[in-house]
């Protein structure tokens, strides 16, 4: 478990030297008598992380052992606190996490102390310890957490292995005490209850592998001349040519493929079905399957616009695979990008589906897996590298990706992630970075292109430009409950119509930035700061206006000039 990655480590950042020292000192010095420091775990044993084991006082002089883990990108992300048991086995300590079963706790026992958006980088470990003390009071009480203290509630007390999709509510008849429910398993551990409410099955399974024996056809000929029609004589001629006519004596299917090297279409797939007619004579029927070569035919309609041979050599890193990220990923695949690295920590859930490039079939899968499938379904030749995990805890995968990437797109909508990548990576890697997100309702949106010539996010802060347009209309949208599995705060309302608009503009800017200077058939990018004024418009702009500006770096920016 040694820390062999070359990723960013907050405690090795010279700009955080005193921050690191004071955080550890807070713990070592006892936090005013409320914390007993036991040990700092060797970082080599915990993937390079700073992990502190100690004893925390709460309530009336009660104590609880805890483990404090600082993520690699601290303080962009808060440290994690776990209640633990420590058992001494000889000279070794065995540490096991404790789940109190009262809610507000993840499956790995991490305490859910506050909604993610409450975290501010200027808060410190002392703030977390106070929250942990209050948490323990409730977690160890008989009643557990009062409703207003619940940050996140798992829907059930036991983890789930899969899901059952019910298209509509199913309420048994009042007089029925029992019955049968027939579910269709559309993928492993995922079922849909469709029989009583839908006319037809929604998801169909694949039928598995089919083998075709292939033969080389005669040279100097095309297939049309070789196999003139699908009659019995032509079938016999082919089988005799390949000396396999003995197969025609029995009933059954024969799958053969013929390779015609001098034909424009090289591969021809045939299924010849031999059956008995009237119980006596043999009848042959042929099914022909036309072949298509993706790399030759996929981009024929756009090759002159987007120089696909050139874009095929390009690599894009996408961080965040939600509504925007999924649409951008699929769009880039459709326009010829050759390699796409995808980062996300989430699982695709039912509420995601109405504004995501994927659909209900993908429920329960990691978003990185979902995007890979979507991209491969556009073009199986695209290389997709998946990284599932919290980018603020990432131990070097992002660095590995950026080292060979041509552009990085940040589409998490999370301020901490945006600033983290802006502060740590935009100067380190001489590639463009694009950040994008939409407002509540998706009624406005923004795209920021950070490059060697244009303002970073901190420059935009200094200029007062790091905000989205305020929509002109009167509307009231309700925030939703915290998304299941994500101690991050409420999901914001917004529809795929306007999200897709912003996503398509992000894709456009990416392609414009990546295309060669010599490309004459698509206009080049002219801006670094894009604002979408949405269906309501704003005080400044009419509805559906894209505002495009170029913003230079700010001379007082500590990131650009540090």
């Amino acid at each position: 478990m040694s820390d062999s990655h070359s990723g960013y480590r907050w405690y090795k950042n010279p700009k955080l030297k005193n921050r690191y020292k004071t955080e550890i000192d807070t713990l070592r010095n006892g936090f005013g008598g409320d914390f007993q420091f036991i040990e700092q775990v060797n970082p080599d044993l915990v993937f390079g992380k700073i992990v502190i084991i100690g004893n925390l006082r709460y309530a009336d002089n009660k104590w609880q052992h805890i483990s404090i883990q600082f993520p690699h990108k601290y303080p962009y992300e808060a440290a994690y606190v776990f209640p633990i048991n420590i058992i001494n086995v000889g000279s070794q300590k065995r540490i096991t996490p404790i789940n109190f079963g009262k809610g507000n706790q993840y499956g790995d026992a991490k305490m859910c102390l506050f909604p993610r958006k409450s975290w501010d980088q200027n808060l410190g470990i002392g703030y977390l310890l106070r929250k942990a003390q209050a948490w323990l009071i409730h977690a160890t009480s008989e009643k557990g957490f009062p409703k207003d203290k619940i940050v996140e509630e798992l829907p059930m007390h036991i983890p789930h292995k899969g899901q059952v999709i019910m298209p509509k509510k199913f309420i048994p008849e009042p007089k029925e005490d029992w019955g049968m429910i027939h579910l269709t398993e559309f993928k492993k551990d995922h079922f849909i209850y469709s029989k009583n409410v839908l006319q037809e099955e929604v998801f169909s399974n694949s039928t598995g592998e089919v083998g075709f024996k292939w033969y080389r056809g005669p040279s100097g000929m095309n297939f049309k001349d070789f196999f003139k029609n699908s009659g019995a004589q032509e079938i016999l001629k082919i089988f005799k040519h390949f000396e396999i006519d003995h197969l025609l004596t029995g009933v059954g299917n024969h799958n053969i493929a013929v390779y015609m090297q001098d034909d424009d279409v090289k591969w021809h797939f045939l299924r010849i079905t031999i059956s008995l007619q009237n119980g006596q004579s043999l009848n042959a029927h042929v099914s022909y399957y036309i072949s298509k070569v993706v790399e030759e035919q996929l981009y024929v309609r756009i090759k002159d616009i987007f120089a696909n041979d050139y874009l095929k050599e390009k690599k894009v890193t996408i961080v965040g695979l939600g509504a925007l990220g999924s649409e951008v990923g699929v769009s880039l695949a459709k326009n010829g990008i050759g390699t796409i690295d995808v980062f996300d920590s989430d699982v695709f859930e039912i509420g995601n589906s109405i504004r995501h490039a994927a659909n209900l079939f993908y429920i329960g899968e990691r978003k990185t897996d979902v995007l890979k499938q979507l991209i491969k379904k556009v073009n199986p030749n695209i290389i997709v590298n998946q990284y599932h995990g919290n980018i603020l805890e990432d131990s070097g995968n992002l660095e590995k990706s950026l080292e060979t990437s041509d552009i990085c797109i940040v589409l998490t909508g999370e301020k901490d992630v945006d600033y983290m990548i802006n502060d740590i990576y935009t100067k380190k890697y001489s590639i463009p970075f694009i950040f994008s997100g939409v407002s509540i309702g998706a009624f406005s949106g923004g795209i920021e292109l950070v490059s060697k010539d244009s303002a970073c996010l901190r420059c935009l802060d200094l200029k007062g430009l790091n905000k989205l347009p305020k929509p002109a209309g009167n509307f009231k949208l309700n925030e939703l409950g915290p998304e299941y599995g994500n101690c991050s705060g409420p999901a914001l309302p917004g529809s795929e119509i306007d999200i897709k608009t912003v996503a398509m503009q992000v894709s456009r800017v990416i392609l414009q930035v990546l295309m060669p200077e010599s490309s004459k058939n698509y206009p080049s990018n002219k801006g670094s700061y894009f604002r979408w004024h949405g269906p309501y418009g704003s005080k400044e702009k009419k509805p559906f206006t894209w505002e495009i500006r170029s913003i230079k770096k700010d001379p007082n920016c500590s990131i650009c000039n540090g």
Binding site: K15, L16, K17, N18, R19, K21, T22, D25, T26, N29, F31, G32, G33, K117, N122, L123, G124, G126, Y127, L129, R130, G320, G322, A323, L324, G325, L411, T412, G413, K415, D418, Y419, S436, G437, V438, S439, I440, A442, G445, G446, L457, D461, L462, G464, N466, K467, L468, A491, L492, G494, S558
Partner: protein, 89 residues
């Protein structure tokens, strides 16, 4: 009973101030020394304790506020311009 304790204060750009004070000294004294060392303005900042609770009254003494030995305070600037707004993706 007065005694001497060491107080640390973090400010922006990872700057750290550390000095020993008598517990009957006022919070204002800490800030005045901080100002002298780093040549900063004291207004438009918030003074927080180690657990991030806010100290508002600088006329109180260290003892009255109940600061403890080796406690780290922070005294960051309040944000002047609104930073990146809430969004989703």
């Amino acid at each position: 009973m007065r005694k001497a304790i060491t107080i640390k204060v973090m400010i922006e750009n990872d700057q750290l101030f550390e000095e020993t004070f008598q517990t009957n000294q006022k919070i204002q004294v800490i800030l005045n020394k901080l100002k002298a060392k780093f040549k900063i303005e004291l207004n438009n900042r918030t003074l927080r304790r180690e657990d991030s609770s806010v100290i508002k009254n600088y006329d109180q003494t260290i003892e009255e506020v109940e600061l403890y030995d080796l406690e780290t305070l922070n005294f960051y600037k309040n944000s002047n311009k609104p930073d990146r707004d809430e969004r989703f993706a």
